[in-house]
Symmetry: C3
Subunit: 302 residues, 3 copies
């Protein structure tokens, strides 16, 4: 089987900066250049990304991944998950609707990802509900996801579960919704990013992406994103697609920017959440790399 796509993946470590100093590494022009290259590389290489994700939004995740140029593959069984972990350019793990087999599948998959040095994106949906979810999320600490994507309450709770600075005991997660503002999860996000060595994206009105050194705040989006199911899940899935071609920070920021741009454009065409969801996929597909990179964001040291 032709499954090893490592040769096609831009070396992640080399992409992270240069010798001329950290602020230069993270100036906005440099970030935008990297975002453009990420979007274009994905459209050119059609990278395969495996996912274990919830049944509610699995179709939307796959269609979003395809819209940006990726190829989607979803499984449930342990050996299939390990196969995809090694075959895909990156992997998306969403714990939304756990099935009993996940007790075996997820630990084996993330271990394989960690051992192979493959980037993966963790979406700690509904953290705090149920014992298996808690147990799995606790185990994931050792396997360091490249990108963590959550709302503010989920990020606070995950940092708490992992015993990191800025986290909270217990959870303010209400089902799948956040009850905390994005900025309130900044310290937790920074702690998580420092622990993993990757990036954390906290989504909300303004989205925060941090690698533990800098924080980017991405603007745009639409109020309809809260009126459809799967806006967060599909963002995580698309971040995994971009993680096949960029560092975790650039991958997460590119995904967030693409979503904010596409959602803003889709809102202007939508008559409600149904037509918004359709237009959102269209706009994700059509968005020019330069427009994604130029979607407004601020950056600061943390």
């Amino acid at each position: 089987m032709r499954v090893d796509r490592r040769a096609e993946i831009t070396p992640l470590k080399l992409d992270l900066g240069n010798a001329s100093g950290r602020m230069n590494m993270y100036n906005k022009e440099d970030i935008r250049d990297r975002m453009v290259r990420t979007v274009d590389t994905v459209r050119r290489t059609n990278p395969m990304v495996g996912s274990i994700t919830n049944t509610v939004t699995i179709n939307f995740v796959a269609n979003a991944q395809l819209a940006v140029g990726g190829s989607a593959a979803m499984v449930y069984l342990p050996d299939e998950a390990v196969f995809l972990a090694n075959a895909g350019g990156a992997t998306y793990v969403n714990v939304g609707t756990l099935l009993p087999i996940y007790e075996q599948t997820l630990p084996r998959m993330v271990k394989a990802l960690h051992e192979a040095g493959r980037p993966w994106v963790l979406d700690p949906v509904a953290i705090g509900i149920g014992s298996l979810r808690t147990d799995l999320l606790r185990q994931f600490k050792a396997y360091k996801p490249g990108v963590i994507r959550g709302n503010a309450s989920e990020i606070l709770a995950l940092a708490g579960l992992w015993g990191l600075d800025g986290g909270t005991d217990g959870s303010n997660v209400r089902g799948v919704d956040s009850t905390d503002p994005v900025i309130g999860a900044k310290a937790a996000a920074v702690s998580l990013a420092k622990w993993t060595g990757g990036a954390v994206a906290v989504t909300g009105r303004t989205d925060l992406v941090t690698d533990g050194s800098v924080a980017a705040f991405s603007h745009g989006g639409s109020h309809f994103m809260r009126r459809i199911t799967g806006s967060g899940c599909s963002l995580g899935g698309v971040a995994a697609v971009y993680a096949t071609a960029a560092s975790p920070f650039i991958a997460a920021l590119t995904a967030v920017a693409a979503f904010n741009l596409a959602a803003s454009r889709a809102e202007s065409k939508a008559d409600g959440p149904g037509s918004f969801q359709v237009a959102f996929i269209d706009e994700l597909y059509k968005a020019a790399a330069e427009d994604i990179a130029n979607n407004p964001f601020d950056i600061e040291e943390v």
Copy 2:
């Protein structure tokens, strides 16, 4: 965790009537006022509703619940289901695509709902197919769902399974479709409502909602509802959202009216079942509370 939303839920018992007599309690103006308050309360409070539902239409159910102003959460595992039963304002249970774990999950969940006095909506999809489905539906009799939603064949078969008047032995259910007319299930619906003390909605060309004392017949809808999957499931899911803010009868009637209104409006914009489904979600989102309450219905004592 901030999960107890009881304080936000309109006391259901007090909402049911007044001392001035039963017919007054159920006059159409009073019913319409309650429907308006239900729609508005849900839009203002964004109530969380847990669901265990089939994988075919789970996304459509969630998006319909969000479109009317609710928050959706779906799970499979027993302890997660019990958590949601207690955390949500109401719960939706659809037995469409049973998984092995449901043998443990569903009895524990509905027992928790019953013990906590939380309303839940039962959708006895495809009753008659398979031993686990029959076994679960038989067990549910003791836990008295607040709302039962089904097509005529399903309602007849459920009343039969529970040994109630008007039910049939066996089932005319054909997969997920009905082979009986709505009016033919009126006696079974009344029996079921009297048993549960809640309401029953029988959906078809004209929809019937009864609490065992009165029957409302709601008009409107679209022929496209039979050409998309999930029109019944999403109705059940939305009835659960409204059940967080109203009595079972008002919740079911409000959901039916909202669906008939939105479907009728969506049909006028649709070019086929694909665009109908999109427009339907838009119209569900946009429908004014007054328009939902004014969607035509007749009412009679039973």
Copy 3:
């Protein structure tokens, strides 16, 4: 229960040809007449088709089946699957996202289908990934699916797994994508069709349908079919709907032609893959039987 729909199903064997010779049986006018009758019969009889299919595209499969006039029912449990196998006019089996219970469900279901002489459609999605998938697909050889639907890589790999001429060892399947051209799978498709006595559809830029004696090449479609998830799955599901009313070859060719026509029309209305998917369901619903039959195809002996 009124589940036996055998009386409504056009006898398949009698539909296959006439006594006046094989080439006459397969002349294009005769094929077009059969396609028209197939489309019309399905719209008139609303045949029920059971499916076991993946969770990613299960909703799209059901909506496509409904759009062409069928009725969809999906299950997971063994006894429910056997029930549907006997109750449905045909059955669709897609091994995309295997769950542990499938180890029991699928062998029992396909055995029941084989023993009852009911047509079923096999979609060997992602053949080569995981041990259960391989084991199940190997077992299926004895139960001879009426239609096999796959991309070129999947058809090559299945013929290889079954030890038939034209097959390949291992697999070029990349997740759910093909890395081989359609024409390269022609010999494998012919071998498979000869083994099953049914038909094989290989989908790609031009689609190939063969019954082992002739090969039809169907034209049309849209580049957007590769940018949405479920175009192949929904084709398999629709082929099962048509298989309730026609021979495997005519059923598969009708499904392929309907998809090429609807996709081509949908592309002209679409602004991206989101609106394409919506328009595609609309066009599938609206397509006249004659237009489906007149969608361009070539035919040759093999």
